[in-house]
Symmetry: C2
Amino acid sequence: MKLTTKGRYAVTAMLDLALHDTDGPITLADIARRQDISLYYLEQLFTKLRKHGLVESSRGPGGGYRLAILASDITVARVIYSVDESIDVTRCGGQQNCQGELRCLTHDLWMELNRHVSEFLNKITLAEIIQRHMVRQVSKRQELLVSQIQLADINLRMKSSAP
Amino acid sequence: MKLTTKGRYAVTAMLDLALHDTDGPITLADIARRQDISLYYLEQLFTKLRKHGLVESSRGPGGGYRLAILASDITVARVIYSVDESIDVTRCGGQQNCQGELRCLTHDLWMELNRHVSEFLNKITLAEIIQRHMVRQVSKRQELLVSQIQLADINLRMKSSAP
DNA sequence: TAATACTTGACTAAATTAGTCTGTTATGTA
DNA sequence: TACATAACAGACTAATTTAGTCAAGTATTA
């Protein structure tokens, strides 16, 4: 299966967006700070997510991204698919041409694994993750941390500009 | 998850070995021919499989590899693990240090997916695959194909060595 | 008009994978 | 004993992928 940090970052960022969706448009800079992801990298990912209709953007000051559809309609599979092409574990993509033009010995095995993984990722939505997991605690911690850093940053600037 | 052709090749080769285990030691050259895998590459994989106790080898003419344990005791997970380090989908390997020293927002999600995949791959053995899937038909086709090629090869040599 | 924030697309570095090659050692057979 | 076979070991390379960076825009709001 093709599950790299790209897909993981995308899901993480989308989850962040879902958690803060009520606060109006969220900038990528915010997400980058909170989730420790390069802003440049996020830009790449969100271009794809937008093209796949998962988020919508607004430019200019006060702008940012919001979910384009309900968090309960966004499955993890959809997010990964949007940035990562596929969640396929076979070599042939189900085409049965894994050995020359024919199916290889393990074709059925990988297809079956595919079904399992797809089922799991297609079933679970962002909304469910937020409810089910310890996501909210983690999120709180992240917000706290970011605001502390910003506070420290302000203090630092005041000191350095002071004398 | 780290599921590359390396892991797939290993499972395929082990399945080939399991299918032909009654024929005495099987050479890697045979497996290479039947499964379209580079002999050199197979050598690498089987070194690891041997070190993990899945196969045993005998050298010299008539030598080759055999399963070191019952096919019903060899799970796919074990094979993949032997050549491929892990079937882990998380970044932190369950260590919860995916964001700095703490767990990232999606930690639980990947852990859950991990459980699903591991459960599937840990449950299914080579023996089961042989029984369940269309493996035997595919295997027959492969043997037939190889013997045809060998036959054609012999014909070719006879022609070329004839004046 | 100035600052903000998305948009586009090219570019690079690092890591991983897949595959190749050279040579060595052990063993059965003629 | 010589020879062929086949495993064993490990270095090496090429190709691909991934992760990340950057520069130059455009649109929007205050």
